[in-house]
């Protein structure tokens, strides 16, 4: 069986999601680095794989897939029975995994990514961090984390008492918030969120991926 090819970049949170999932599922893969600085993701060769010109894209034999959160679900289903189970074990568990994956995608990701963008990426491109934008997004994220605190006071992980894609989906963005943006207090000030973060960020699969993305 051909090794899965991942077209992406170590610094991309979306690429890191896919690599972490592959590690959790113990699936062999090859990372083909897309030279983002040179604009390779906007050139015809890459657009033929992913017409939206963003990373990552995977190739698994004849199947080409983009959108990291969709890729995670494909991997979790295709490799069920191997590595870590990431999608629950019943229809209702799957539904709760999907629900909290959507919460990450719709409510957590936007403010968290906006904070990362202002603090990390804007200065890298020679601009100045807009503190008002940071503050506005911190306020949004605080409201989401308060709900997580309540949820995680009743449940070890987001979808239930099992680690799943819903937790995994939070790893790369939260890692940067805590280690590179000085926003660790958002996590550490919430007892159950803190315990959850310490648990999931210590997983060997994540440690292997995050060491390469630092």
């Amino acid at each position: 069986m051909a090794t899965i090819k991942v077209h992406g970049h170590h610094l991309s949170t979306a690429t890191s999601l896919v690599l972490c999932c592959l590690e959790e599922k113990q699936v062999d893969y090859e990372l083909l680095v897309v030279d983002l600085a040179a604009g390779a993701h906007k050139k015809p060769q890459y657009l033929a794989l992913n017409p939206f010109g963003v990373v990552p894209t995977i190739q698994d034999g004849d199947l080409t897939l983009f959108e990291s959160r969709g890729i995670l679900k494909y991997l979790a289903k295709k490799y069920k029975g191997q590595g870590t189970e990431l999608y629950g074990n019943s229809l209702s568990e799957e539904a709760l995994v999907e629900q909290w994956c959507e919460v990450e995608g719709q409510s957590y990701n936007s403010p968290a990514s906006a904070i990362l963008f202002q603090i990390l990426f804007v200065p890298m491109r020679g601009g100045t961090t807009d503190e008002a934008v940071v503050e506005m997004n911190v306020e949004k994220l605080v409201k989401v984390l308060d709900i997580y605190e309540e949820r995680l006071s009743k449940s070890k992980y987001l979808a239930g008492d099992f680690f799943s894609l819903a937790d995994l989906q939070h790893l790369p963005t939260t890692h940067y918030l805590v280690t590179a943006c000085g926003k660790g207090d958002l996590i550490s000030s919430r007892k159950h969120v803190k315990a959850w973060w310490e648990d999931i960020s210590c997983r060997p699969a994540w440690k292997k991926v995050s060491e390469k993305s630092s």
């Binding site: 897939l65 295709k78 999907e98 629900q99 994956c101 959507e102 919460v103 719709q106």
Partner: protein, 219 residues
């Protein structure tokens, strides 16, 4: 078996998404309106169903779910044997392509659409104004996304392949608003394959039953 309960409002895009799926799967349900004007969606009773205070929330026996895009996947799987078949495809690979285009809707299509509806419909309803610069920049973003759709739909009747799936269904509420309520119908009608796709999916009986109720309240 107790009927499924959907807490929401018929003109809410996310409620409509769930109702459309229930109709496609021919599942009986009860729509329980939430009094948004009275702020009921931010009160403890509703927050116990959906802690984010957003529409909709679904109750199916002991299971309570929120996030419309997750709810429709649950319904498609639970009711696989009835109503419209293969909403999630019939193989792991087909399901992956459905998921991919569902994520495209979520992260590329929805944000500029949501911004247009907020600026053009919601702000004035709340006594605010429309920021034309925000409208223009989001119409431009949406155009770029629809160019990709035009290319895709020139090769494939529906987004995931030659069958109607959740990926197409997920788009329907905001496509409806674009065409009917925010004055951006030309974004669709000017693209031959996108237009044909919209005309096809919007004529589905399961959708037409929902669309008649998708009218924003007046001030």
């Amino acid at each position: 078996m107790a009927k499924i309960k959907v807490h929401g409002l018929p003109f809410s895009s996310c409620t409509a998404r769930v109702l459309a799926c229930l109709n496609e799967k021919q599942v009986e349900y009860e729509l329980i309106p939430v009094n948004a004007r009275a702020g009921d969606h931010k009160k403890p009773q509703y927050l116990s169903l959906n802690p984010f205070g957003l529409f909709p929330a679904l109750e199916d026996g002991c299971l309570t779910l929120f996030e419309s895009r997750a709810i429709i996947k649950y319904l498609a799987k639970k009711y696989e044997g009835q109503g419209c078949p293969n909403l999630l495809g019939s193989t792991v690979e087909e399901e992956a392509v459905v998921e991919q285009w569902c994520e495209v809707e979520s992260h590329h299509f929805n944000p500029p659409c949501y911004a247009l509806v907020s600026q053009i419909i919601i702000n004035p309803l709340k006594g605010g104004t429309t920021d034309e610069a925000v409208v223009e920049s989001n119409a431009e973003k949406l155009s770029r996304v629809l160019d990709v759709y035009e290319d895709r739909l020139s090769k494939s009747k529906y987004l995931a392949g030659d069958w109607f799936s959740l990926a197409d269904l997920q788009h329907m509420p905001f496509l409806h608003y674009l065409v009917n309520d925010v004055g951006k119908a030309t974004l669709i009608s000017s693209r031959k394959h996108v237009n044909a796709w919209w005309e096809d999916i919007s004529s589905r009986p399961a959708w037409k039953k929902i669309a008649v109720h998708m009218k924003f309240p007046s001030k």
